[in-house]
């Protein structure tokens, strides 16, 4: 009869083990990776490594197909200390998955190394109803919704672009929405800037924006910034957000937002609109071009109708 020690040694021969730093590096590169928490559901609920899915050790062989069917994709497994997942990794290897990695030291060492974990708080009955249409979408589901509720997005500009974007994100349940604009509501704004109402004329845009979004969805914490974004405040403000939406209306701000986002490693969802034309793109630092790659210098005034 084999001892546990022998079984573990045998498993470790067959699979690869990596430490928390390696996993962190893999997650940072955005490479295709399936991360599976093989602990029991109650352990997972107490905290897990984002973006792990939970498939308990006992169900792994039966349910691995729901996580991936690609035999060559990198699969990282972890449990509490790295023992259960070593045996689990061996089982996947035996099933024909070629690139199975065990997280050495498991969740415990991940936490001890000072790495971030997430804990899902249970959704309320209202939230389950409010986001039920998201749950029907396989790509979002309950897990995606929790992620949205934990997310922080800064919308720069509460005007023609910022209004609908912030409004939709509030509806979708983005947990923290910063909204930044130094202007006041003018009657000429109202035909398109849908966060503001007639009674808001003369009020700071971020005030009416905050009220409208809070009324739409009480789950959202709206953080109003009643100021124009400048070189003096931008870094301090954007550093705490996961994602930046640029809905500004001038080139100066776009270059500033682009530069600050790049330097701080923030993804910038860019949009601009003029009369009947609009454009949108995403500037993700080092994954694609930035605004300056697109416009090394501001387009000459002649090309931009005023």
């Amino acid at each position: 009869m084999k001892t546990l020690r022998e079984m573990l040694a045998e498993a470790r021969q067959a699979i690869r083990e990596e430490g928390p730093e390696d996993l962190k590096a893999r997650l940072a590169t955005g490479e295709p990776l399936v991360l599976i928490d093989v602990r029991d559901p109650d352990e997972y609920r107490d905290g897990y490594i984002e973006p792990a899915v939970n498939i308990s050790r006992g169900f792994l062989e039966f349910r691995i197909g729901t996580a991936t069917t690609d035999p060559n994709v990198s699969i990282v497994l972890y449990c509490q200390t790295g023992l259960r997942s070593a045996l689990a990794a061996k089982a996947l290897k035996d099933l024909g998955y070629t690139n199975v990695i065990n997280l050495a030291g498991g969740y415990q060492r991940w936490v001890q190394s000072g790495n971030a974990t997430v804990k899902d708080s249970p959704l309320t009955a209202d939230q389950i109803q409010r986001y039920s249409r998201h749950f029907l979408l396989g790509q979002i589901g309950e897990k995606g919704q929790r992620k949205l509720l934990r997310s922080k997005v800064l919308v720069i500009g509460a005007g023609g672009l910022g209004s609908p974007t912030a409004f939709y994100l509030a509806a979708a349940g983005v947990g923290t929405l910063g909204i930044m604009d130094g202007d006041r509501v003018d009657i000429t704004n109202l035909q398109r800037q849908i966060l503001h109402r007639t009674s808001d004329i003369g009020r700071p845009k971020v005030e009416s924006a905050t009220e409208t979004m809070r009324a739409l969805n009480p789950d959202v914490t709206v953080v109003p910034y009643p100021v124009r974004i400048t070189v003096d405040n931008i870094e301090e403000i954007i550093k705490d957000y996961d994602l930046i939406i640029d809905g500004s209306d001038n080139f100066e701000t776009r270059y500033l937002v682009n530069d600050a986002c790049y330097l701080l490693g923030k993804t910038n969802v860019h949009g601009s609109i003029f009369q009947f034309e609009g454009m949108a793109t995403v500037f993700a630092p080092d994954q694609g071009p930035c605004y300056r790659c697109l416009y090394p210098v501001p387009p000459p005034p002649g090309l931009v109708p005023s």
Binding site: P164, Y168, I245, C293
Partner: protein, 95 residues
């Protein structure tokens, strides 16, 4: 709408984001086009030898982060996608 959808995709982590692609929208003709964007190796910010390493270029009196003549208005038409456009492949219908 496009920006909000992109944000949700990026936050949750699904789909194919608009990274390296410029989506243009012409409401008059009701046409969407997609232009592939490449990184500029000479980009002063994200290129191989960056000259912009902090935000000092944006400080008052520090020179031009943004050349004079900027009229502060929205977008430029897709045909005016700056000098980089000449190196871009032709736009493809999309959307």
């Amino acid at each position: 709408m496009v920006q909000a959808t992109e944000a949700v995709k990026l936050l949750v982590g699904f789909g194919e984001p608009l990274i390296g692609r410029l989506l243009t929208y012409d409401a008059l003709g009701m046409r969407f086009r997609e232009v592939k964007l490449r990184r500029d190796p000479n980009c002063p910010l994200c290129g191989k030898n960056p000259t912009i390493k902090d935000l000092s270029i944006h400080m008052e009196g520090a020179g031009q982060a943004c050349a004079p003549g900027d009229n502060g208005q929205g977008t430029s038409p897709p045909s005016a996608v700056g000098p980089a456009a000449s190196t871009l492949p032709p736009a493809k219908p999309g959307g």
